[in-house]
Amino acid sequence: MNRLRITLLITLLAIETVLIAWCINKRIGRPAPPRLPADGMVDAETARDFQRLWILAENPRRGDWLALGQAFAVYGFFPQADQCLQQAIQLEPDSANNWFWSGLVLNRLGQTTRSTRQLIQAARLDPGLTDTCHYIAARNHLRNDSPELAEAELRQIGTGHLAGQYLLTYLLVHTDRPSAAMPILDALIAQHSDVHSLYQLRARAAEALGDSDMARQDRQTVERLPETIATDAVADQLGERSFEFGLEKRIFQAGRLNTPGNLQAVVNELKAILEISYRPRVARLLASIELQRRQPESAVKLLQQMTKRDGATADSLIELGLAMDDAGHEPTRVFQIFQQALQYRLDPEICRLMTPFVKTQSSQADVDRLEALRQHAAGLQAFSENRIDQAVKLFETAASTAHQRQADSNFFLGECLRLLEQPHAALDAYRRCLELRPHHGRAADALDRYGKT
């Protein structure tokens, strides 16, 4: 009896061992999450986040491989992202997000045919993704020189998807079917009258149809419209997720901490982030908080470093000038910074900031010229935002100074008056522009064109 029991136990143990060995083998054989191609490819904070995601993906629950794939994708490791998303699809083929992200990543890898396949599957699983998937699939087909397939995708997109409708009309115009594009463009412009790309495309269509007046009119309208169309769907999708991983997540969270009662904590956190990895926008945010905290010298240092490392822009120079002024720097030096900013952007705010310095150091004529420049800059802003009545007043004031630089003010005054259907006053303005600058091409053209009618 004993012998039988022992035999049975040995048999049981043997079966158990074989089974467990098989399970362990299977378990060990599960795919290891891909690693970064080399050490030091990301900052320490992001590396920590990747470490966390690797551990999760080694013993995955639903969504863990997707999360790792997304992290790889938003940090630009597209081959590794693709590997993760293939695994995510294998484990959870019912997840639309897995297919969708796989489609995005394959698009970035230039694997357009595979990308389109994944996107179609994503759209099947989640109808909410349909328009975006068709749009990216259309871009994939265009990359493959298959405009017919692209058009077929675009025809399936809802009329409310502006980028999709725009791309469809773009294709029609550029495949010699401008008359087919016209009604769609008219309808889009009726709904989105402030989007300049639509007028620009309609101008191309009108030109192709021989309607040069409409083409010219649309191009003139383009100058006064602020809005554009977000056509980079893949870049946008990747950008939206970047705040969920690594250092970008920490920067995002630090920004959310930024309340008046919490400034010291935010400053500490932003300084810690800059220690980990230099980011110009973090330096800029920190400088602005330092100004709020009445620490202008610290802001000056940050902004000086930023302009050196990332190049100067009008905005960074304005902030630097203001910080230097707050910190009590030499007024001449502050003025030079604003002057430099004005080289980067003709901006009424910069002119306003320069005025007190000019008043104390220069002649009344210089003050008047700066004021005229300020009015002109504000006029340009109003003109580009289609606030024509305001622009007229500003250009009139600017043009009252007979300085050669104000030739442009007269030209734009002419443009505004023409739009307000005051042709004689407009022609007078163009003529004044040419008196100040006889070689002003656009004024001469306008006078040629409208002076005859």
Binding site: I6, C23, V74, L142, R204, G311, Q343, S384, H440, G441
Partner: protein, 441 residues
């Protein structure tokens, strides 16, 4: 008393229980050792070049990633010793690199305080016998539709350059080229007003006394190059333009004389993403007319980039009568600029390409590539360099006066990864490896 059999029995029972228990406890700790499918590799890597070139960094090393928008090889001061002229868009200055007698290079700032210089054109604009410099002022390296651009003239007067603004209140200016466009004997200009969402192509008529009247040739944003050449062999200068924003198109403006131009669209790409990045003129096939070389590979809309299969270089073969046959000659990922020279001295024109957006996370991807011409415009790629990365501009010329072309290229590092950095680099030919025509045709 337990018998030995009983012990064995108990031990076996213990094992039957312990083995699965231990396995359960150890289960989460078991390492994953399986592998996924191998990763996709879309990067451009070529066999190493056999050209005897020696790499040299000219700008002083800096921890800050450089941004050089344009380099060229030119004898600025007429001493028959060519210099390198470079637009430093980070420090906002124009610099020249001179070779000294002891074969070292020195940097000299020609002009500073210019907001993001994009391109410099060297020409004797006032016909006084020395070379002036036209600088295309972008105003902002990043998307911006405001009036920040300028056409700047640095007029050479003795040892100094006097600064004049020839055109202002424009959007971002990416390129200026010079030539007598209206046949009146003075130098006019072709101007690419890149802008962002709005932009134009202009020609500026020289009225004398540094006054120029602007004429619009095309309303289109995103023009990056406007080279001037006699494309139709009729004796006057035409303008070509590379439009790369809403539309991806190559335009020509045929000179009809007396300042009149007829626009001709030479090519359009329906691929919205193709990323036009450069256009130069050259007689690649040496048949006596001017061909075009167009690079595509811009990816600046992405926070992180990756080379694409449609990137590369096209040769627009001029067949006369405004007919161009388009040949793809390269698939280099992220291709951004081209230069033409007979690098191997075999009598035909080779092409040098640089890449801004190869897969820089690998160590072996190409940033500088030689396309060796077999004489029939069939090209074999070889890799001259994989560093520095992010090259956007390239020029060829005989820098060390050994009778063979050297190469200079500039790096523009704005998108990670910031690895294998470089500003202005030269690859100088050296005769020690010259095999005296052993592999020359």
């Amino acid at each position: 008393m337990l018998t030995s059999r009983r012990y064995i029995e108990l031990a076996l029972v213990g094992l039957v229980i312990a083995v699965p228990l231990a396995t359960t406890i150890a289960w989460p700790l078991l390492p994953a050792q399986g592998s996924l499918d191998p990763p996709v590799n879309g990067s451009s890597i070529y066999p190493p070049s056999t050209l005897p070139l020696q790499s040299l960094r000219l700008d002083p090393p800096s921890p800050v990633p450089a941004r050089f928008s344009h380099v060229q090889i030119v004898d600025l001061d007429g001493d028959l010793q060519p210099e390198i002229l470079a637009c430093d868009a980070l420090a906002n200055r124009l610099v020249a690199y001179h070779r000294t007698d002891d074969n070292t290079w020195t940097e000299h700032t020609i002009s500073s305080d210019m907001a993001t210089p994009a391109h410099a054109t060297v020409v004797d604009i006032d016909a006084d016998g020395d070379l002036d410099i036209l600088v295309a002022i972008l105003g902002n390296a990043f998307p911006d539709d405001s009036h920040v651009g300028r056409v700047l003239l640095l007029e050479r007067n003795g040892d100094r350059y006097d600064r004049h603004v020839l055109l202002e209140a424009t959007r971002r200016i990416a390129d200026i080229q010079a030539g007598d466009l209206d046949g009146d004997g003075d130098i006019d200009l072709a101007v690419a007003e890149f802008g962002y969402a709005r932009g134009r192509i202009l020609w500026l008529e020289n009225l004398g006394q540094r006054h120029f009247r602007d004429h619009q040739l095309l309303f289109a944003p995103g023009t990056i190059n406007v080279p001037i050449a006699d494309l139709d062999n009729d004796g006057d200068l035409d303008i070509v333009a590379n439009v790369t924003q809403d539309d991806e198109e190559i335009w020509a403006f045929e000179n009809l004389g007396h300042g009149r131009f007829q626009k001709r669209r030479l090519h359009k790409w329906l691929n919205f993403d193709i990323g036009g990045s450069g256009l130069i003129t050259a007689d690649l096939d040496q048949d006596g007319d001017t061909d075009l070389l167009v690079t595509v590979g811009d990816n600046l809309e992405y926070a992180y980039t990756y080379p694409q299969p449609y990137h590369g270089c096209f040769w627009f073969e001029n067949n006369g009568e405004w007919s161009f046959q388009i040949h793809r000659i390269s698939h280099l990922g992220g291709a951004h600029a081209a230069s033409v020279a007979d690098l191997d001295g075999d009598g035909d024109n080779d092409v040098v390409l640089v890449s801004m957006f190869n897969d820089w996370r690998r160590n072996d991807t190409a940033s500088l590539v030689w396309l060796e011409n077999d004489g029939q415009q069939q090209f074999t790629h070889s890799q001259i360099a994989s560093q520095p990365t992010h090259l956007v501009t390239v020029a060829t010329g005989d820098l060390n006066r050994d009778g063979r072309p050297d190469i200079v290229a500039g790096g523009w590092h704005v998108i990670p990864p910031f690895r294998r950095l470089g500003g202005v680099n030269a690859w100088l030919s050296h005769r020690s490896h010259d095999n005296s025509g052993g592999d020359r045709k």
